[in-house]
């Protein structure tokens, strides 16, 4: 009884869209209706143009790591130690390990790096992200972005898991991102430990596996001090100081 009711209900629902098949053997015209095949789940392409602008005076942004994922993927969390892959990005600007790790996750549709070198202060660049999904209504559509502030020891900027699910074609959504300290390297600001151009002449070490900051956790950045503000050992001038936000992000859905 219950089952029949359910089937009848389904039939009514289907009828509204495509008509309902009948299992009546003596149907008019003598046709034996063939059961309608279940439609294949339609794959779909979502294309996003991601335009970023470096809002700082003196912090080149390392090549952007961009990831698009469903609701299950977790980016770095405030107050927790970061992965080695993110440590490598934060200390050297090399995003390859972070992107490889993301691509290894079943929850990530796409993970890739911006082309070219660092994005210098005041400049903008656009990256096209083409996401192919198995269905036209994927579980979730979130974007994450990470880049190093090159004239810091281990500073990054990050857009953490923003929902693009409601974005219609030709719609644009804008964000401004904060600066974070990954807590993996002490902020000595010395030319030997900073990889960016402000440290030219020093050793400019990138990744170092030792975690020697006073706290091994991701937190908001407190800014750099600089030589001009009285830190004699700093390789940074007043021009490398920064305040939030540090990066502007405009995401337009193209398809």
């Amino acid at each position: 009884m219950n089952k029949q009711y359910l089937i009848a209900g389904l039939c009514v629902l289907t009828l509204a869209l495509a008509g309902c098949g009948s299992d009546d053997d003596d149907s008019p015209m003598g046709m034996t209706p063939t059961p309608e095949p279940m439609p294949e789940p339609e794959s779909m392409t979502f294309t996003y143009a991601v335009n970023i602008t470096n809002m700082t005076r003196g912090q080149p942004l390392s090549p952007l790591a961009a990831m698009v994922f469903d609701g299950e993927f977790q980016m770095a969390k405030m107050g927790e130690p970061v992965s080695v892959a993110l440590e490598v990005l934060a200390e050297s600007g090399d995003n390859s390990q972070l992107l490889d790790a993301a691509m290894g996750s079943e929850h990530v549709y796409l993970a890739r790096s911006a082309e070219g070198g660092p994005l210098m202060p005041g400049l903008s660049q656009t990256m096209m992200l083409e996401v192919n999904t198995a269905t036209d209504s994927p579980e979730g559509m979130y974007i994450g972005l990470v880049s190093m502030l090159a004239n810091t020891n281990d500073g990054i900027t990050m857009l953490s898991g923003k929902d693009l699910g409601g974005l219609q074609v030709d719609d644009t959504i804008t964000f401004e991102t904060l600066s974070y300290d990954t807590g993996t390297e002490r902020n000595s600001e010395s030319a030997d430990t900073i990889i960016g151009p402000a440290a030219a002449g020093g050793l400019q070490e990138g990744f170092n596996a030792e975690r020697d900051d006073f706290v091994d956790e991701l937190r908001l950045h407190s800014g750099v001090v600089s030589f001009d503000d009285g830190m004699a050992s700093s390789a940074l001038s007043e021009a490398q100081r920064f305040d939030n936000p540090v990066m502007q992000v405009e995401i337009t859905r193209m398809q």
């Binding site: 602008t53 470096n54 809002m55 700082t56 005076r57 003196g58 202060p121 005041g122 400049l123 903008s124 001009d228 503000d229 001038s237 007043e238 021009a239 100081r241 920064f242 305040d243 939030n244 936000p245 540090v246 502007q248």
Partner: protein, 233 residues
């Protein structure tokens, strides 16, 4: 599902429909001890901008950012048939204080984006800014936080000087005068050439000498620098 998205489209249509509204825009200076020079509150079409991050400042923007003179920017807005509310605070807006601008765009509903600028003092060419933000049309109250920008047109020498565009130093109106030091030798740096988020002033703690005439213990700030409350009726 279909019906839901149709409903969403209808709502978007309603939101972007060419209907004007009555706006009250309150701007509060959130800094600890930084003045805003006369504010410009402007409603204009989406494609117009008083400034753009990463771009070179226009001469009217430079004139505002280096000396607080908003007349050239008001002229630009008038030329666009925009709505300009000039100097709603009637002079300097002190730290903690608020000013309110009111306008109605019923007669010109294309003026549906909001820009706000005013110079930050003491700085060489710093300003508080809001760039072409879409104005809500649903009745209600909305809040936004504004940041400090550097126009990139003048070296941040942090010295008493001129408010004329292209001339070094900072203008010193009477209320600021007793807060500043004297005889600074000048901070390092040059005009940056592009608009960016202001990295803050340095200042120093020597009121009769040192590199800067700015007081490091008083005049630094962190973003945000202003809160904007928009009431739509």
């Amino acid at each position: 599902m279909k019906r839901l998205s149709a409903l969403a489209s209808l709502m978007i249509l309603a939101a972007t429909g060419a209907n004007g509204a009555e706006y009250t825009v309150e701007i509060q200076n959130l800094t600890r001890s930084t003045f805003f020079t006369p504010l410009l509150v402007a409603a204009h079409p989406a494609e117009n901008h008083l400034f753009a991050v990463g771009g070179e400042a226009s001469l009217p923007l430079q004139t505002m950012a280096e000396g607080g003179n908003i007349e050239p920017l008001v002229g630009e807005i008038d030329g666009l048939s925009g709505i300009a509310v000039a100097n709603p605070a009637g002079g300097l807006l002190a730290a903690g204080a608020s000013a309110t601008a009111m306008f109605n765009n019923d007669d010109a509903p294309d003026n549906n984006h909001l820009s706000i600028v005013a110079m930050l003092l003491p700085t060489n060419d710093g300003f508080v800014g809001l760039d072409a933000m879409w104005l809500p049309t649903e009745p209600g109250t909305y809040q936004y936080m504004l940041k400090g920008y550097d126009a990139g047109t003048e070296a941040n020498d942090e010295l008493r000087g001129s408010g004329m565009p292209g001339e070094p130093g900072m203008p010193v109106p009477p209320p600021l005068d007793p807060q500043l030091g004297n005889n600074g030798t000048g901070m390092p740096g040059e005009a940056e050439g592009f608009v960016h988020i202001h990295r803050g002033v340095l200042g120093d703690t020597d009121s009769v000498a040192g590199g800067s005439d700015i007081d490091a213990t008083r005049h630094r700030w962190l973003n945000p620098v202003a809160r904007v409350t928009i009431t739509v009726e």
